[in-house]
Amino acid sequence: MKNGFRQSMAWLHTWTGLLLGWLLFAIFLTGTLAYFRSEITYWMKPELHVSQPAGDPVPLALSRLAQLAPAAPSWSITLPDQRNPSLSVSWSNPGEAPGRRGGPSAILDQTSGQILHPRQTAGGDFLYRFHFELYGLPRALARWIVGIATMAMFVAIISGVITHKKIFKEFFTFRPGKGQRSWLDMHNMTAVLALPYHIMITFSGLVLFVSTLMPLVIERGPQRPPQPAAEVAEAPPPRPLPQLTAIAPLMAQAETAWGGMPVGRIQIEKLDTDTPEILLVPQRQSVVTVQSGSGANGSERMRFDALTGRQIEATGVPEASVVAQVNMALGALHRARFSDTGLRWLFFAAGLAGTLMIGTGMVLWVSKRAMKHAKSGVQPFGLRLVDRLNVGGIAGLCLASAGYFWANRLIPAAAENRAGLEIAAFLLIWAAAAIHPFLRGTEKSWSEQLALTAVLALLLPVLNMATGPSGLPQALMAGNMVLASVDLMALICGAVAAIAAWKARPGQQKKPKANRRPPAAKPAPAAAVAQTGVPQTGVPQTGVAGE
């Protein structure tokens, strides 16, 4: 009975994995990259990289606002932070409510105060959106699809742990150079060692989808009291700007009250009255449970009289029920909203492990079956199809992602509908990579796509240096970690792709059948796959049989 249960779990693991494996691979890869969403968006706007941090940006922003929008009833300054080093200002037109989105705004050079004009780009937001809404599908449908895939992931994790019970006895085992056994070790290792992360990310992802999958059970998060509708005043005549009090001491007061969390946004409101006010908003929330929206700022507020500096009011964290708090905590965990840089890299590494886990799982599906059918010499159609689709679904997506970064820098900055072109480049590369194995055979296309991915990723810092004002060395010297992190991420991904390409190089499977004899190089996992696709390779390696 026990055996029967494990077998049915193995069956479940295999088929949920196969059915949704490519989709899950895409979700994991783009989602992992999306940990650096704002860093990528910044990297993709090289026009912003000229601005260097220079002392206190507030006085500069205020004086520029006085020139740009002397008649505006309200100003807003978004200060540079750990993840977005730009200084941006916005203002409302007379007669409009303050703080409206989509109003006039500008990004300033922090030294000269000049307005910078970044190129239009789909940025990190495309990767972020893609990982839960895909692309080109109606939003509700796409969320349903990804939601179901998330559930399948959960099923695959649980059934996988039951199936591969032995993994806990061979916890730290990785045996290179043993063909399919090495793939299985790799699959198990990336799964078990990052298991807490996989469970957390899948479960919290599922909770984020609850409103899509079960529309009746959501409990809404805390709602801000509705803003009183702003009175529409007739455009006032230009009046002399009031002499504002010094903002630095107010910021210090707020930061102390918020437990050291820095101010992220400064709003100066009611400039058209005799009683202007200053509103300070923190950069991020102080506790993980505050708010799960994807906006950047925390929900504490502090309001001052702009002339005297007297505090008018301070609002804290809104009350929320326990269920709402748990929901929000899971949402914030999933998005790594709280993360300092080190933690973000940890999550990135764990996400990469998850991506590898799914990829190796897909390859295992093929190599196991290929071995079974090798004796008869006939590879069934389904097996050959999955084998070829694996190339486009795994290596092809890596290639398309690397190509996306290149497209950002190579498409002219002034092109029409630039963001659309970037996305088109991504999709076209992916489509070409999906067709490639059908023309070229799996073995060659695996290694070619992985090698090209490695080259593109490893050369990304060079491209950045050639097409932007600040390369990796300058960014590191200037301490601009936001810019440097994208180049570093590219180098890491490039190295992984290069290792994979080396292992998958053609000719690997022609080695003499080595059973338990450690060969010099690891017989490519992908080579095992490739065998199934290339009929002339004949007898596959006899690895140690599966679990």
Partner: protein, 116 residues
């Protein structure tokens, strides 16, 4: 940046190494020979204590608990991965002292991070 997260990382590595020494298969690979039942218990207890200590350090590093626990899980992954790599090398004939390489590396990184 303080040394705390690095210390937590090193402790979780130490904990995993002790747990590996409690497992017959990994004990053989790392050390040679099989551990007796008492030795296994001792290694297990030591490993669990070290992991607990690394959790406490993680809680001291990150101000709120959900974040600290997720971060700790991430550190565990890193530490276990490092140990798996050491064992892989060991099986290919690497020296016993390789076990000390990951903590040395972490110590170096932590030192650099504290200086800069």
């Amino acid at each position: 940046m303080t040394m705390l997260p690095w210390a937590s990382l090193i402790l979780s590595y130490a904990g995993f190494t002790a747990l590996a020494l409690a497992m017959p298969r990994h004990h053989e690979e790392l050390w040679g020979g099989k551990p007796g039942p008492l030795a296994r218990r001792l290694w297990q207890a030591g490993g669990a204590l070290a992991l607990l200590a690394s959790l406490i350090l993680a809680l001291a590093t990150w101000p709120n608990a959900p974040v600290a626990v997720s971060a700790w899980a991430g550190l565990l992954t890193l530490a276990a991965f490092a140990l798996a790599m050491v064992l892989t090398r060991r099986n290919l004939g690497g020296h016993r002292a390789l076990v000390l390489a990951p903590p040395a590396l972490a110590l170096g990184c932590g030192f650099l991070a504290a200086v800069f």
